[in-house]
């Protein structure tokens, strides 16, 4: 069972980076947004420092949104979803493995890029690891609940807009707590632990809920 | 009715805001009720027509079967 899950995980990580597909485009989008903001706002330090942490989070949420449409669609088309359904491992864990793969392929690099980019956005260097860690946790939350959106819209052609409407309400709590923690850390004065703990609790809950709900939806999609 | 602590924030008269609120509430409830009524009428007529056509078709087939 573990081996089956690991193979799902490895296959998805490999697919995300193969041939410039999957994870490369959203990562490029993320870097682009972070680069373009100072150009749009002007180089004034205080302005960029205030806008930086929220921007990193908004760009992260939107980048995850970009990847969701293809998450289960490809599996539904090439019938590897049926294989997942027949496999020894429960579908819930398979969905979790797919989410974990997306997080490894996209969430982790994005958190790293975000941590580095926060330096160019005038946050103090001490805050960069906290921002990166927060982004890593937050991406896990976004991806977990994104699994549900992707599973619900798997059979729908051009489901991108539908997925966005479905998951946006769920993105509100992590982005509130995450951006608040990042802003508090970069401001340096306010304690960020409270917001960080709430972010962690929320994303942990999503990580439990998302794969279960996504698996329930996928079973319906298959039959 | 202007609050002395917040000069100018509360405008007078407010009748327009109140009238708009109640008008929109009435309009949305009436709109929902009308659409609901219209759809119910449409689908019940269509269901009746389809069921009647089915019953007639069934009778015709029975007749066909009974008269060789």
């Amino acid at each position: 069972m573990i081996r089956a899950l690991m193979s799902v995980y490895r296959r998805d990580v490999a697919l995300a980076w193969a041939g410039g597909g999957g994870a490369a485009a959203p990562l490029g989008f993320y870097v682009g947004v972070v680069l373009l903001l100072p150009l749009a706002m002007g180089p004034e330090r205080a302005l960029i420092a205030a806008a930086g942490p929220p921007l990193l989070w908004v760009a992260g949420a939107l980048s995850v949104l970009m990847t969701l449409e293809r998450l289960f669609q490809a599996d539904l088309e090439d019938a590897s979803l049926d294989q997942l359904l027949l496999a020894a491992a429960p579908l819930e864990l398979a969905a979790f493995a797919k989410g974990a793969a997306l997080w490894t392929a996209l969430g982790l690099p994005m958190a790293l890029v975000g941590g580095i980019a926060s330096l160019t956005l005038q946050t103090p260097p001490a805050a960069a690891p906290i921002i990166a860690l927060g982004l890593a946790v937050g991406m896990a939350g976004f991806i977990s609940i994104g699994l549900l959106g992707a599973a619900l819209a798997a059979g729908v052609r051009r489901g991108g807009v539908l997925i966005a409407v479905l998951v946006l309400p769920f993105f509100a709590p992590p982005i509130i707590f995450g951006a608040a923690a990042a802003a508090a850390a970069s401001a340096g004065e306010a304690p960020f632990e409270g917001a960080f703990q709430l972010l962690g609790a929320c994303c942990l809950f999503y990580a439990a809920l998302g794969p279960i709900a996504a698996a329930a939806a996928l079973r319906l999609q298959a039959d | 009715m202007t609050d002395p602590a917040l000069p100018g924030v509360i405008e007078d008269p407010h009748t327009a805001y109140i009238a708009w609120s109640y008008a929109l509430a009435a309009l949305s409830l009436a709109g929902l009720a009308f659409v609901g009524w219209w759809r119910a009428r449409h689908w019940s007529a269509r269901a009746k027509a389809a069921l009647r056509a089915e019953a007639e078709g069934g009778e015709a087939e029975e007749k066909k079967a009974s008269t060789p």
Binding site: L168, P173, L198 | L24, W37
Partner: protein, 242 residues
């Protein structure tokens, strides 16, 4: 409740009478409540006459939330007992709830202009109502996107249940966010205990909204059931025809 309504035929027989009765009750409650809300209830000492907007704004907010909770229960019944009527009920409630949420947002905006001096304030209650409205839109969009009615019902039920679990989290996060960024000069609404002279019209109007929403929901359920019957019969006809 469930066993009484479990049979679609019995539901149709019952709702045929219940729908107009509820509509009449709504009309009577409006006739009783509107004069109080618009004329006889006292103006607020701070907000003046604009407080009258509350009598449509707050019932709309209550039932937008209440209908979502009811949809959650119907979705639960639909997933556990696989009952057609529960699907139909959840589907029929959604547009009513979405319109009430929109009404709450618009009247909130109309109330905010004279009291806050702005058409939109990122107030905690308005913000969570906006999120609820988007949730409704997502639910309806999912129903619209999937052609197979049964599959759409099940998938929408999953979404609705997960959304129901998530609603308190959103509420908490938005409240938390609002206290974090508390604006300096905003008139607090509904902070103190409400005057009994205002409570009575508010409750009557809430009752009127409830009866109207229930009547419209029953109407919607009736047309959805008729729609199923019609489409099924037409399909059978098309199959039997050579």
């Amino acid at each position: 409740m469930i066993t009484v309504f479990a049979n679609p035929d019995r539901f149709m027989a019952l709702s045929r009478y219940l729908t107009p009765i509820l509509a009449a009750a709504a009309a009577a409650l409006f006739a009783w409540g509107l004069p109080q809300a618009l004329v006889t209830s006292p103006p607020d000492y701070q907000m003046g006459e604009t407080v009258r907007i509350m009598y449509v704004h707050v019932p709309a907010a209550w039932w937008a939330l209440g209908l979502y909770a009811a949809m959650g229960m119907a979705s639960f019944v639909s997933l556990v007992w696989r009952h057609v009527l529960a699907d139909v009920a959840a589907r029929a409630m959604a547009p009513v709830g979405a319109v009430l949420a929109a009404l709450c947002l618009i009247t909130g905006s109309l109330w905010g202009r004279p009291t806050w001096g702005t058409w939109w304030e990122w107030d905690a209650r308005l913000t969570s109502m906006l999120v609820l409205f988007i949730t409704y839109i997502g639910y309806l969009a999912l129903w619209a996107a999937i052609e197979d009615a049964q599959r759409a019902a099940r998938l929408a039920a999953i979404l609705c249940l997960v959304g129901l679990i998530n609603l308190p989290i959103i509420r908490f996060s938005v409240d938390w966010w609002y206290t974090l960024h508390q604006p300096a000069s905003v008139l607090r609404l509904g902070g103190s205990a409400i005057d009994p002279a205002m409570l009575s019209p508010l409750l009557i109007m809430a009752g009127a909204f409830a009866c109207a929403a229930a009547s419209i929901t029953l109407l919607g359920m009736r047309s959805l059931i008729h729609r199923r019957q019609a489409l099924a019969a037409e399909l059978r006809l098309a199959r039997s025809a050579p």
